[in-house]
């Protein structure tokens, strides 16, 4: 057993479901206890889908433990009849794998023609694979399954691999790439998995080249297409303004088309000019750290050094299988490459090196704010904040502009300290009260402030923040009760209670007054 508080990566079955559900007309079926299906809730909430997510859970129950069959044919039949997908991708969670149910056997007993959709057993391993490797494998398998022998498109075209549901700013990244490719008059043959139907996948082999938005997710599928169709894959990463120009120039060379129109594609790019303006001069030599997926860490680190003249202190990733790839990508930026999937190691590194700005995932944002270091979020794991309604790409020329904004805002505002003060562990939720000092308390930014000892002992009652006005008295029980009201409504509640007390000629506020006021006045 290993103690786990937080992980960068979800379990393998989430990776399979994410990849499969991102395709059009493909439905994922997960054999697992119902609780393991939480990926569907993330999908519904984060992507704000106005339809039921295309993932179904064939739930294990007490009856399963007593030996009942999985009854997966009934689930497949139901989804087939109601939703008419072209393919049903079946996978299982680690818990289901432990039970070693003969799912294949059960599915094999379906009568031919009983189900119109193709049934596909994903081969990712529920325990040995992780979210990234399971996603990458499933993407490759499904593309390989449908791809047919086809002619190249008459005009230059590309496949874009990587964008998916629950991805990190993926819809905007895709829009940014499409916008540039349109300016260069390059056709998009296929985007996968996001929105690709089996009919689209059949002609995957028509593209002249493959592009990737996330190397660690697409390496298997592009290698497969290279082997089968000879389609080359562009190695450059489309991060930053200069980086994007290099990326497009390599693409033009690969497609053997003139590169003159790149300037047209770059017409709105501002990052390199921003870097020349006096506003950005202060960025020179600022020490930065970048931690995330191999692709985002490598891409962002290069922008920060090459385009903003910052000093890269360290680069790192939690996708350990691509550690060496990352090392090669950033060899000229830093020798300090951190490979770890333990967020505490990264937190410690941030605390020790104290970069001027940290670039990482939402977890680094938290770790950095605890250490008093400003942090910009540039990498998965995706958080609800990474699904903005507006246009916020990280790749291409539009992405370069956005990266400039992110650097600018992080640098100027540095609000993190206030946020952690306000929303830190001691101030959250319904039972926001009497959290023992020195237990969950965030470390002060300025360090070395002595922590009160006696973990587990309740904090002595503080006098209320708002002094009771003039004639009104508060008895201790009422004070205590009000101190239990969540902090963000406490002030309003207090005002309402005192108003109620005065209107009802109550001289001393007691618990009854608090309750009566809440009921009558609200708050």
């Amino acid at each position: 057993m290993k103690l786990a508080l937080w992980s960068y990566q979800a379990p393998a079955h989430i990776g399979v479901c994410k990849a499969a559900a991102s395709f059009a007309n493909i439905h994922a079926v997960l054999r697992a206890p119902k609780g393991d299906g939480y990926g569907t809730i993330m999908l519904a909430m984060f992507e704000r889908l106005g339809v039921v997510p295309p993932i179904s859970v064939c739930a294990m129950s007490e009856a399963t433990l007593a030996g009942a069959a999985a009854n997966i044919p009934a689930v497949l039949r139901e989804i087939d009849a109601r939703l008419h997908p072209e393919m049903l991708v079946v996978t299982r969670s680690a818990t289901a794998a432990v039970l070693q149910e003969p799912l294949d056997g059960e599915i094999g007993m379906l009568a031919p023609g009983d189900i119109k959709a193709e049934i596909f057993m994903a081969s990712a391993h529920p325990v040995r694979d992780n979210e990234t490797s399971a996603f990458a494998l499933t993407l490759k398998e499904i593309v390989a399954h449908f791809a047919q022998e086809v002619e190249r498109t008459p005009r230059p075209s590309v496949n874009i691999f990587g964008p998916s549901l629950l991805g990190f700013h993926d819809h905007a990244n895709l829009a940014s790439l499409r916008r540039m490719l349109a300016a260069l008059d390059i056709e998009v043959n296929l985007v996968a998995p996001l929105g690709a139907a089996p009919a689209d996948l059949r002609h995957a082999g028509r593209a002249w080249a493959n592009l990737s938005t996330a190397y660690e997710l697409t390496a298997p599928v592009t290698a497969y297409l290279h082997e089968r169709f000879g389609t080359p894959t562009l190695d450059a990463l489309p991060f930053g303004e200069a980086g994007t120009t290099v990326f497009l120039r390599e693409l033009c060379a690969l497609l053997e088309i003139p590169s003159a129109r790149i300037a047209h594609a770059a017409r709105d790019a501002k990052l390199l000019w921003y870097a020349r303006t006096v506003d950005a001069h202060a960025l020179s030599g600022k020490r930065v750290g970048a931690f995330g997926t191999p692709t985002t860490a490598a891409g962002i680190a290069r922008v920060l050094r090459d385009e903003l003249d910052m000093h890269v202190e360290f680069v790192g990733t939690y996708v350990l299988a691509y550690g060496e790839w990352l090392r090669r990508q950033v060899a000229d930026l830093t020798a300090n490459v951190v490979l770890t999937d333990d967020f505490r190691t990264v937190a410690k590194l941030i605390d020790e090196t104290r970069p001027d700005i940290m670039f990482g995932s939402q977890m680094e944002r938290h770790s950095a704010s605890t250490a008093g270091v400003p942090c910009a979020v540039i990498s998965p794991p995706a958080h609800i904040l990474n699904f903005p309604l507006g246009y916020a790409p990280f790749v291409g020329y539009d992405g370069a502009n956005h990266i400039g904004d992110v650097v600018n805002q992080t640098q100027v505002l540095g609000l993190e300290h206030h946020l952690i003060e306000t929303f830190g562990p001691r101030n959250q939720g319904r039972f926001a009260e009497a959290m023992p000092e020195g237990h969950d308390a965030p470390r002060p930014a300025a360090a070395a402030a002595p922590q009160p000892p006696a973990a587990g002992r309740p904090r002595p009652q503080q006098p209320a923040a708002i002094p009771a006005a003039g004639d009104l008295r508060w008895d201790p029980a009422a004070e205590r009760l009000v101190s239990r009201i969540p902090f963000f409504v406490r002030k309003k509640a207090r005002t309402n209670i005192e108003k109620y007390a005065r209107e009802n000629a109550i001289a001393t506020v007691d618990e009854r007054t608090v309750l009566a006021a809440r009921e009558q006045v609200g708050g």
Partner: protein
């Protein structure tokens, strides 16, 4: 009790690890150690928002290949428990067993006593699997473990069972004082070591409809008198709750006037709800109680889906819902068909399908919020009705804006991602 319903193909539900969210906030000296897979850890991280607050008082002991192939559980879990004790100094550790240990028949519960002896810290073993229970029943299993450690007594005391906020507890305390009843004890309290005495004369009053298991356990193991009535949601339910409590002590108290006053305090919201229709999708197990009080407030309850119905335990609620169709563990597709036929003004639904139902044109109140808002008692009634009325007001107001501007709120569906760039 857990007969699986032939109709059920898909359920929309969380894992019963979810109550750790409110239980660890309530019990400030607790630590929840969950023995399970990476999925359990991922669920806790996702559902409980650990992302922002990275030093939580809960963690997962993730099973590795050695554990799966029969390694001794105690030997494996002991160093982890010691690490938790050293770093967090908890007053008590809740050692949760999940689906995988249940499949492997690992004796996680059996580790509690030896771990307690080794560390000197109280260890409550509890089953937190996600097979059949509704997710709220995770609290039920935690409380059951705590009841087992409550000191015995022969006194006729009152134990209020179920996690409440301080303000909800205060109302119960004050009402008991007003009725001349013994000072009620609560379970859980702010310390996980603060356990009320429980014995054969104890009047055990559950405040949540999902506490069937712990109530049955107390009845079986301690012979408690069970306070059998509706749950204290809404003025009607709260009145019955207090009157029944008084009756257990031979007092005839009428709360008729108090109920009337409480309804009066809710008038503004009840006026919005009255005459509108509502359907419940299955989720929190609060469905029967909430449907009952919304009906009392003048809403038409079209259909109630709920994860599990216990005949006797939920008998008083069901009696007040006569004529309303109740679906135990309904299938998602069948439920959608019923909603399409009924077209209720308001649908109460789980986060999994809430947006999808909005996409189909329904007005949805997300049900999860109802488990962590203080809505119990006369005092919580305005909040309770306020939550539902706010959904209706909001829906109406935004509907007027869309109508005035002649702009549709087009749902994001899967074809959205097939279209070329909109930027």
């Amino acid at each position: 009790m857990f007969d699986s319903c032939a109709e059920t193909i898909e359920r929309d539900d969380f894992c019963s690890l979810a109550p750790i969210g409110w239980l660890h906030h309530k019990m400030q000296d607790s630590f929840f150690l969950v023995v399970g897979t990476h999925s359990c850890q991922g669920f806790l991280q996702t559902a409980l928002g650990v992302m922002i607050f990275a030093k939580p008082r809960f963690a997962t002991a993730v099973l590795d290949e050695d554990d799966l192939s029969g390694r001794d559980v105690l030997e494996a879990v002991q160093p982890l428990v010691e690490a938790v004790v050293a770093e967090h100094h908890p007053g008590a550790i809740f050692l949760g067993s999940t689906c995988t240990p249940e499949i492997l028949k690992m004796n996680v519960a059996g580790c509690a006593k030896p771990l307690e002896a080794l560390t000197g810290v109280r260890v409550y073993p509890c089953r937190l699997d996600g097979f059949d229970p509704a997710y709220t029943q995770g609290e039920d299993h935690v409380l059951q473990a705590m009841i087992g450690r409550c000191p015995p007594t022969d006194d006729k005391n009152i134990v209020i069972l179920g996690c409440l906020s301080a303000i909800e507890e205060a109302e119960i305390r004050l009402e008991c004082a007003a009725m001349g009843l013994p000072v009620p004890a609560f379970l859980p309290n702010e310390s996980a070591l603060d356990l009320p005495p429980v014995g054969p004369a104890t009047v055990l009053a559950p405040v949540h409809p999902y506490l069937y298991g712990s109530v049955s356990y107390a009845l079986r193991e301690r012979g408690c008198a069970i306070h059998q009535t509706v749950f204290p949601y809404g003025p009607d339910g709260t009145r019955a709750f207090f009157e029944t409590l008084a009756a257990a002590f031979g007092k005839a108290v009428s709360y008729a006037e108090r109920e009337r006053a409480a309804w009066a305090a809710c008038l503004r919201d009840v006026a919005v709800l009255r005459g509108r229709s509502v359907s419940f999708c299955s989720d929190t197990m609060l469905e029967l109680s909430l449907a009952r009080t919304l009906r009392a407030a003048g809403m038409h309850v079209k259909a109630v889906g709920t994860p599990n119905v216990y005949r006797k335990f939920h008998g008083p609620e069901r009696a007040r819902l006569e004529g309303v169709e109740i679906f135990e563990r309904p299938d998602r597709f069948a439920m959608f068909a019923r909603l399409s036929a009924d077209r209720p003004d308001l649908v109460v639904a789980n986060l999994n399908i809430a947006n999808a139902l909005e996409g189909l044109g329904f007005n949805v109140k997300w049900s999860t919020e109802l488990t962590f808002q203080p809505i119990h008692g006369f005092n919580g009634a305005p909040s309770l009705f306020g939550l539902f009325a706010a959904s209706i007001r909001r829906h109406d107001a935004l509907g007027r804006t869309r109508e005035r501007s002649q702009t549709a709120a087009t749902p994001i569906d899967l074809t959205f991602f097939r279209e070329p760039a909109r930027a």
